[in-house]
Symmetry: C2
Subunit: 483 residues, 2 copies
């Protein structure tokens, strides 16, 4: 638990007087809950604000600017990078109760508040034959405000892109307190500067997002799931490149390396494919019209076999598909057999470097003595590389940390990115300067300064390098934790 | 011809000394050619620069900042809004010779320089079975740099979106002269602030775009074209809403109102559908796999007939399709029968307001005594409303101008946008404040100031209201002018 020297008690009292205790909580439990996100490093805020309307948010921002109080917008707090951590203390602006969802079926758009849960937006769309495709793995509990602030990705990126691709308009507040709207609930808009897309992925540091207009697409009529096993990672990744060359566009194409599969099979006590334990896997889904899905399915099966798939299962039945999905759903937890803590890096590399990235994870495993199970969204080149270590062994943690630094350098050398969908937050801040030149970072900081001259909105994020693993990880049960 | 008081001769001499006369032309012909775009209002620059490399651009920007010389980046100059006009004089930075195109077939991306012609990018992609969908009507001569600066749209927006949707990375220079890259040639990227999308649609005022990495998609295997005639606009637009409700996604859905069709038929001396002269038309295209196209075609035909289409032609043959396209290709020129000049406004309204917008164009025609032929990209709600007048009659021009102002107010009242794909440039600058609040414009200007503290990059665009129609239109033959 980090406590800051700065004392925000006077402005907090003023805020409480202005908005009342129902909107401004200084209760210990509320402050502790708002002090951390899924990274589980805690920074205690002075108060947690549950604003009931726009006027309350304007008041918060006005007082924050007057008294230089940090303000951290917050949804569910499911970020893995500390993006929701109030790292400089101050006030947490909790928008999780702003969760209205309204569908305009004719225009094919959803008007949502920032606290709406991602899966619930899609469920509301589904009632009208519409589809909100972005599917971060946290979709059942994360909120759209966080998805927007971090430009969340997901499994369906292969065909459907990321959160940004579905945003028509954003509503919210400038850090200086004025209500604004960027973009419009229209299919085309070319007026003025595009601050909408600057806010998206801005980590909540450039404005307070209170609502969004999202573009929906027709819900695919059919879906087919395939699971294919390969003798090694090079063959599995070779098959992915063959899919690209054939110009096939599966909606999902998840790659799992052998260590990922092996620890899952160990946990289960049985192999995914009995005839082929410890295989590298590809889990694929195609969707679209019935005719389209049938055509893609047969093209994919042919292609996977000729690319070296030695075992293959496929199904259109949702219950059967769920069985194929089990390995992907379990693997992230199963990894904890290899260590009780992990660093999870969502790097991206271009297709021609897939095999080299996998080789790099093996080299790192050898060099650090730690397991580096890796899976990822293969059509996007977005791989989740994990470094497993034991919390009780500081030396392992340090080796993991060094391993991550080496990985990041390698990824940049391969023409890649240090993050594809998690964002920088706190956890990746030490690597930001590997990705961007001083001129680029200078321009970003100039924009931040222009929009937030007093630096009150979510300070300490993205640009200030901080080694989060030096802080103790809090033992806490978060709403999404499973046994 | 407007000449500015500011004298840039000394810095221009310095620049010429630094880069040599081959890169810096002060020749009258070159300056006149660079003084205007398709709006045909002329602002004479002091010099036209043809930079041969990055170092030359850096030199230009350094000197421009030192001596406060306006710099206007330029491609083909096909903008209809004055977006390429060097309205404050100074230097035009002509990038039309920067036209390299490189396709990475495996990754499905195009690496292009700013001066590459849009249609040539798609032609290069086609050789690899790939597709660059954005298709502004100027695609055979406009350059991608201009498309990026204005976030150009096109006919295929219905299914494929706009320029922004295909940009992975931009390369170029900050107004202060540093080389930068925004985004990366990767399918996913979530690092740092997204200045890429801020530059896109920034009208060339936030940075000099020298190159881009574009995402390509698989080239559709099949295509089918349909032309349907309706007794009136309400019926045609009703059919568009029925297409939306049926969740069909044609790649193109062009609407033509009766005045547009009537002037085309008058020019031809024959009706598009002999049995139904002066009909309102929908021109549609579906694309995709052979099976998908066949399914969409039959669904569309059924739907169009039940929505009141009284005549219909359709074909998969490219030569026959071109015949169906003739009415759409000719209509823009045919309008000049109704006046030798036109104001062309690319407004957007939500689907529920389509019919009201069309009614508004009729009311305007009555109120101004001018013809208001209208066509547009109907699935996007992006309608091109024209006000036809005679140049020699100043009163008609003033009525047209008043009509446009009334149209813009109505569009905003309908929840729409003053521009869907042309951008603000000079021509729409008087209406910017109808679309955006003072706080929004304040934030935009703060961002501009942060990135371009001396205000040298393309000053006078977007934010300074200017009534371009008060300036004389230059009689000039531009490369794309037809007889």
């Amino acid at each position: 638990m980090i406590k800051f020297a700065a004392d925000f008690s006077r402005p907090t009292r003023m805020l409480r007087r202005a908005l009342g205790p129902a909107q401004v909580s200084t209760d210990e439990t509320a402050r502790h809950a708002a002090s951390l996100d899924n990274l589980r490093v805690s920074f205690l805020p002075a108060a947690v604000i549950f604003p009931k309307d726009d006027a309350a948010i304007a008041t918060v921002l006005r007082l924050a600017n007057e008294h230089r109080v940090p303000v951290t917008p917050r949804g569910a707090g499911s970020s893995t990078t500390g993006s929701a951590c109030p790292v400089r203390g101050g006030w947490v602006l909790d928008l999780s109760r702003w969760n209205k969802i309204k569908i305009d079926a004719l225009a094919g758009i959803a008007q949502v508040e920032a606290g709406a849960v991602t899966a619930e937006i899609d469920a509301a769309a589904a009632k009208h034959g519409l589809f909100y495709p972005p599917d971060p793995s946290s979709l059942h509990y994360c909120t759209i405000g966080g998805n927007l602030a971090l430009n969340a990705g997901g499994l369906r990126g292969a065909k459907y892109g990321v959160t940004r691709d579905y945003v028509m308009a954003l509503e919210g507040f400038l850090p200086t307190g004025e209500k604004v709207r960027w973009g419009a609930p229209l299919r085309k808009f070319a007026s003025g500067y595009n601050l909408r897309d600057l806010w998206i992925g801005g980590g909540g540091t450039l404005g307070v997002i209170t609502g969004a207009t999202l573009r929906l697409v027709p819900r695919p009529a059919a879906r087919h799931t395939l699971l294919a096993a390969f003798a090694n990672e090079a063959k599995a990744l070779g098959a992915v490149l063959a899919i690209m060359r054939a110009r096939l566009v599966p909606s999902i194409c998840e790659f799992l390396d052998r260590p990922t599969v092996i620890c899952t099979e160990r946990k289960w006590g049985r192999a995914v494919f009995p005839q082929m334990p410890g295989a590298s896997l590809l889990l694929l889904e195609v969707d679209g019209s019935v005719a389209e899905v049938a055509a893609q399915r047969s093209a994919l099966i042919k292609l996977l076999r000729s690319a070296g798939a030695q075992a293959l299962r496929d199904t259109a039945d949702p219950a059967e598909a769920e069985k194929l999905w089990q390995v992907r759903r379990t693997c992230s937890q199963a990894m904890f057999q290899m260590g009780d803590a992990k660093l999870n890096e969502d790097v991206v590399v271009p297709p021609r470097e897939y095999v080299r990235l996998l080789k790099c994870t093996r080299d790192l495993a050898r060099a650090t003595g730690l397991a580096t199970p890796t899976y990822g969204h293969a059509m996007d080149g977005n791989f989740h590389v994990h470094m497993m270590y034991r919390r009780a062994r500081p030396r392992e943690r340090r080796r993991a940390e060094k391993g991550v630094a080496a990985l990041m350098k390698k990824v940049i050398a391969l023409g890649g990115a240090i993050t594809g969908e998690h964002g920088i937050g706190l956890a990746k801040s030490p690597f930001l300067r590997l990705q961007h030149s001083p001129a680029e970072i200078g321009a970003m900081l100039a924009v931040k300064k222009a929009l937030d001259p007093r630096g009150i909105l979510h300070p300490g994020q993205i640009f200030t390098p901080v080694s989060v693993w030096r802080f103790p990880q809090v033992k806490v049960r978060l709403p999404w934790d499973k046994d």
